[in-house]
Symmetry: C2
Subunit: 389 residues, 2 copies
């Protein structure tokens, strides 16, 4: 297949470089995902010019984003969300509102950025990427503690609230300015979609189950999950949201059946293959030349606001559990990840976000992801040195 | 991600249509893969014009071909090949030579087609796709019989010999005509590559094993297998072979560790996602307008030669096991599949194969795949009606 040669070479180089940087970061005790983004920054067209991802690679990277969110959805049980109840919901809700308002306020009022840009950056500060925290807690063997279950519960609420925010924000992108009527319509649309997917989608699949298991196609549940992932991605784009929202809810719909149908390890394999292209190209899109003093200041301020927003807003609702628990929950909710990156990407592609704002989000994502694990490790080890070794 | 919208829609429509056609075929007791190809023929740009796969979809389809062959390699144990010994190797070798010579002879001598076109069609008739046969034998619960192990053993030899033929044929494509010196060089190159991969690659991985298991990257063996798949695909294109040959040998290298590292189900999931795009676009490339009387005659003749070639050449070496066993082995080796399609695709892309010759290969692949299962079922049921129900 001659014309595929350069594409295959590009995919090979990106995949290997992303994974080598990831492995180096892991060896240093840092999150692999930051290494994969950094690979893109360093080797991409704005720095070493070693690889310049072409159109097909960018499309594959977007499929990677879709599968990333599909995986997040698969791991987010709606039943669990209903079970963990008010504490986690309170943590999640506060942790969504505070960073958004802090980020929006800083960009709009202090820096004087346009409203739509401030909204995008604020939205990127919303969603916790709990994978990093879960991994740290797993390493410390504290996943069974009450703090861990509050964090994991809140992360579920946070995921869903983050999706609503993204749905609204992505919908706003279709117009140049921000129209408040449209915002309300989008909010209602997004909430209705969410309520349907959280409460009814898994019931629909429950009803379909006997039919699915009668199908002759090999791996019929996997095929059905993949089809729903693509279908809801298309649908959510059609109604003016981002594709990944559909992918997330497709995952959510199948979450209850993930174990029974062995979906998680198999969907994960697809994500393992596609996600490095996403993280690498996110880094490769970062134009390093825009890092002047002003932008660096904004990066640091937004990162600090992103940290404070989550620590305070997520810590407060659990203050009655004690300062130490509140602090752990707060810090545990600070890492941002793929959703923040995707919000920035959607903004960049819609030309609603400028390169400096894109840089701010990438910086904030990387920094929060790097800062949280050592702090969390310190907090857990301080309180229970024996359990944490 | 606005510009991805039409791509996602295209991927969704192709995936669902391919799988629906596949399911209908399965329900009718026919192989799903023929349904997936037919979906492309019917809905593609030459018939109903419902979907016209774009450049990105075609690239994803080619990744599908690469993962198909990677999966075939993973399921092909080099140790098994060494174990099954002479009978299977004889069956495999005869079954590669006879169809090639029959196909080549018919196109070159009877139809008077150009040498390079006759070589491509002959090469496409070489490789058995044993998946269909294995599934029929599995359904009949006769996988434990001696006939089944001869077939499965021969399929291993056949896969590797088929790859050598494809390597040589794809290498020839770089020039307009066929140069016999070059052919010998390519043959030596292909055999050397094969010998290295069969005898040494898995030893290299065996040595690397402790290192791989020390890596901090999650799913390190899977990542390594994916990297080798992409890397050898690029490498085999660079030395003038087809990308899938590298993918096949990458699979072969990991075959011994497929169970231990749980590679098979996870690589399979990637293939399940990507392969439908390959089969659909293979169908979509078929220009139905070229089916005049002459082409239809050629399709039928080539299919008959493809059947006779395998039945006779694969049956003869096992004739001492009795007529009935010989016939089962022969029929079991007749289905052609993804390798035939890829040979045709490589030929089409290199402009070494015209649309009529492409049509002949697609027809032959579909027909052999459709004819083998009922005949095989009949042969097994006739001999042991009780065992086969």
């Amino acid at each position: 297949m001659p014309h595929a040669e350069s594409l295959l070479l590009e995919l090979f180089v990106i995949f290997v470089c992303a994974k080598v940087f990831g492995e180096i970061f892991e060896q240093l005790g840092l999150p692999a995902v930051v290494g994969e983004i950094l690979a893109g920054v360093v080797l991409g067209p704005y720095a070493m010019k070693f690889v310049n991802p072409g159109a097909t690679t960018l499309s594959i990277a977007e499929l990677g984003a879709i599968f990333l969110l599909f995986t997040v959805g698969l791991e987010t049980s709606p039943k669990e969300l209903i079970r963990v109840g008010r504490t986690s919901l309170g943590v999640g809700l506060a942790g969504v509102l505070a960073p958004f308002l802090l980020g929006f306020g800083y960009l709009r009022l202090v820096r004087g950025d346009p409203t739509h840009e401030a909204i995008f950056v604020g939205a990127a500060m919303v969603a916790t990427s709990v994978g990093i925290t879960a991994r740290v807690m797993g390493d410390l063997r504290v996943l069974h503690t009450r703090v861990a279950s509050i964090i994991l519960g809140a992360a579920v609420a946070d995921d869903i609230l983050g999706m609503i925010v993204l749905a609204v924000v992505a919908g706003l992108g279709s117009n140049a300015g921000v129209q408040w009527v449209q915002l309300v319509v989008l909010l209602v649309e997004a909430v209705a979609f969410t309520v349907f997917m959280v409460f009814f989608a898994s019931k629909v699949i429950h009803r379909m189950r006997p039919g699915v298991e009668r199908l002759s196609t090999q791996n019929a549940p996997l095929i059905l999950a993949l089809a729903l992932c693509l279908g809801l991605s298309v649908a959510s784009e059609r109604i003016g949201m981002a594709a990944i929202i559909g992918a997330f809810f497709a995952g959510l719909a199948f979450a209850e059946y993930s174990v029974e149908w062995k979906l998680a390890p198999r969907i994960n394999a697809i994500t393992e293959f596609l996600a490095p292209f996403f993280f690498f190209t996110m880094g490769a899109r970062l134009d390093l030349r825009i890092f002047n003093r002003e932008v660096i200041v904004a990066c640091v301020v937004v990162t600090v606001l992103a940290l404070i927003g989550k620590v305070v807003a997520c810590g407060l609702p659990v203050l009655r559990e004690g300062w130490s628990s509140a602090l752990k929950v707060g810090v545990g909710m600070t890492p941002r990840g793929e959703v923040a990156l995707i919000v920035a990407l959607v903004g960049l592609q819609m030309k609603m976000v400028s390169q400096p704002a894109y840089a701010i989000v990438i910086f904030m994502t990387g920094a929060t992801t790097l800062i949280a694990p050592p702090v969390l490790r310190y907090l857990f080890k301080r309180d229970a040195p024996e359990a944490a070794d």
